[in-house]
């Protein structure tokens, strides 16, 4: 059986994408999860993965072409399926006059082409594809850089839609970060820098784990209904130098060990900076976590990224007066905030989620 590999939707704000490069060729075996193409979007160049295993049979869109989301980009013969009505005999001879002219001009060997026209005839589009594929793929460094204006437009479109459609409510809670900071210091003391943990890893883990008890804040709201997600894919907001941000997913963040999560964060930030984010990471975060970091503001009032229904924010860790029993003492404090969707949940539930996150952070060794 043949399947279609389509232009993916990489977020609520994406209408079309430009195919920049094919990383596989017709006849190549592909496995689920393989990166097969590079697509340029408003969020930069994205590596697009395939979700079936089999053989790449035919490419339908030539590099350099912009097509709407959902457009078939290639045909894939699924694993175990018989070959298509046989790779059409190339020498069968049917070639349209336009194709022949193009082929002669471009120096394309017609006998090596599979035809997509009636009866397997080689048509002009087949020759154009062959020409486009012959061009050497652009080296990674020459891939299109970020278009900051386009990214700004994409962020504006998504956020305008969010503010227009989603009745947000916002909550904040200060969290005693003392135990977490002490634990991080103790763990990092004996580790070389490349194995040290950042507070963000604990915060993402605590947020994802807490969401297990709050399915009404993890999933997608579309076409008038909320669909909770069984998996917790935490979109982690990463600022891009020069402006803009994206929040690719850390898949199944709730089940990851803290070291694996830290590795995932490190890898994600590096790839955002290098412009090699994968399509699945952009398409499927079920919730977003934003951590403002050491030099950020004290708290965020985060805006939901549709079609998600919640976003958790963590402000800068700072020493603040903290009352414990009858004593006021300096204590590292992080303000956690929540922006959530009133169509799905209420402030009471949101408050419980923040309390659960705070509770988890009192026992960092269990995260």
């Amino acid at each position: 059986m043949s399947g279609e590999f389509r232009m993916p939707s990489l977020g609520a704000d994406m209408a079309a994408g430009k195919l920049v490069e094919w990383l596989k060729r017709p006849g190549d075996a592909v496995r689920r999860g393989d990166v097969v193409a590079v697509v340029e979007t408003q969020k930069g160049a994205i590596e697009v993965e395939i979700f079936t295993s089999g053989t790449l049979e035919r490419l339908l869109v030539a590099p350099g072409t912009t097509v709407p989301v959902g457009t078939p980009l290639a045909l894939v013969r699924e694993e175990g399926a018989p070959a298509e009505p046989a790779p059409r005999p190339p020498a069968a001879g049917k070639v349209s006059p336009a194709a022949r002219r193009l082929a002669t001009r471009a120096g394309i060997d017609l006998s090596a082409l599979a035809g997509s026209g009636p009866g397997g005839a080689v048509v002009a589009a087949d020759v154009e594809m062959a020409v486009a594929l012959r061009e050497k793929p652009a080296p990674a460094a020459a891939r299109p850089g970020l278009d900051f204006d386009a990214m700004r437009q994409a962020i504006a479109a998504a956020m305008a839609r969010s503010k227009r459609e989603i009745p947000h409510y916002y909550l904040a809670s200060d969290i005693d970060f003392g135990p977490a900071r002490a634990w991080l210091s103790a763990v990092n003391r004996d580790r070389p820098p490349e194995r040290r943990l950042l507070a963000s890893a604990l915060l993402v883990k605590a947020g994802a784990l807490a969401l297990r008890k709050f399915p009404d804040m993890n999933g997608f709201f579309s076409e008038g209904a909320f669909r909770p997600s069984a998996a917790i894919h935490a979109g982690f907001a990463v600022a891009i130098r020069g402006g803009g941000l994206i929040a690719p997913a850390i898949h199944d963040a709730d089940g990851m060990g803290i070291d694996a999560l830290m590795d995932a964060l490190r890898d994600l930030v590096a790839r955002v900076r290098a412009g090699t984010v994968r399509s699945s990471e952009l398409a499927d975060p079920t919730v977003t976590v934003t951590s403002l970091g050491e030099r950020g503001a004290d708290s965020a009032f985060p805006i939901i990224y549709p079609p998600q229904v919640a976003i958790v924010g963590f402000g800068r860790e700072s020493l603040r007066p903290w009352v414990s029993g009858n004593v006021v003492a300096p204590c590292p404090v992080v303000t956690a905030t929540l922006g959530a969707d009133h169509r799905v949940s209420d402030g009471h539930r949101g408050g419980l989620l923040l309390a659960e996150i705070a509770q988890l952070l009192q026992h960092p060794e269990t995260l």
Partner: protein, 87 residues
């Protein structure tokens, strides 16, 4: 290793951690992280690179001593000297 050589490594690694930055133009006494906009993850990458290139320990407790170019150079030089002395 001379102070100049250490400074050269430092500047090179800041530039690598933050592509497009011009750390060589930084005044000695300004906070590096604010001037070059280095977030926590970039800073960890920088520390990792300095640790690997200079072969010195840079414990988390010492991060504060890497706040300006002047302080960082002095700190790294002391760490390198301590390491050489051990041999």
């Amino acid at each position: 290793m001379s102070p100049d050589a250490i400074r050269a490594v430092l500047i090179e690694e800041i530039r690598r951690a933050v592509p497009g930055s011009t750390p060589e133009a930084l005044p000695d006494d300004r906070p590096i992280r604010d001037e070059v906009d280095i977030d926590s993850m970039d800073f960890l990458s920088l520390v990792t690179a300095l640790h690997q290139r200079l072969g010195i320990p840079i414990p988390e407790a010492d991060y504060g001593r890497l706040d300006t170019l002047g302080h960082a150079e002095a700190y790294l030089a002391a760490q390198v000297a301590a390491k050489t002395g051990e041999r």
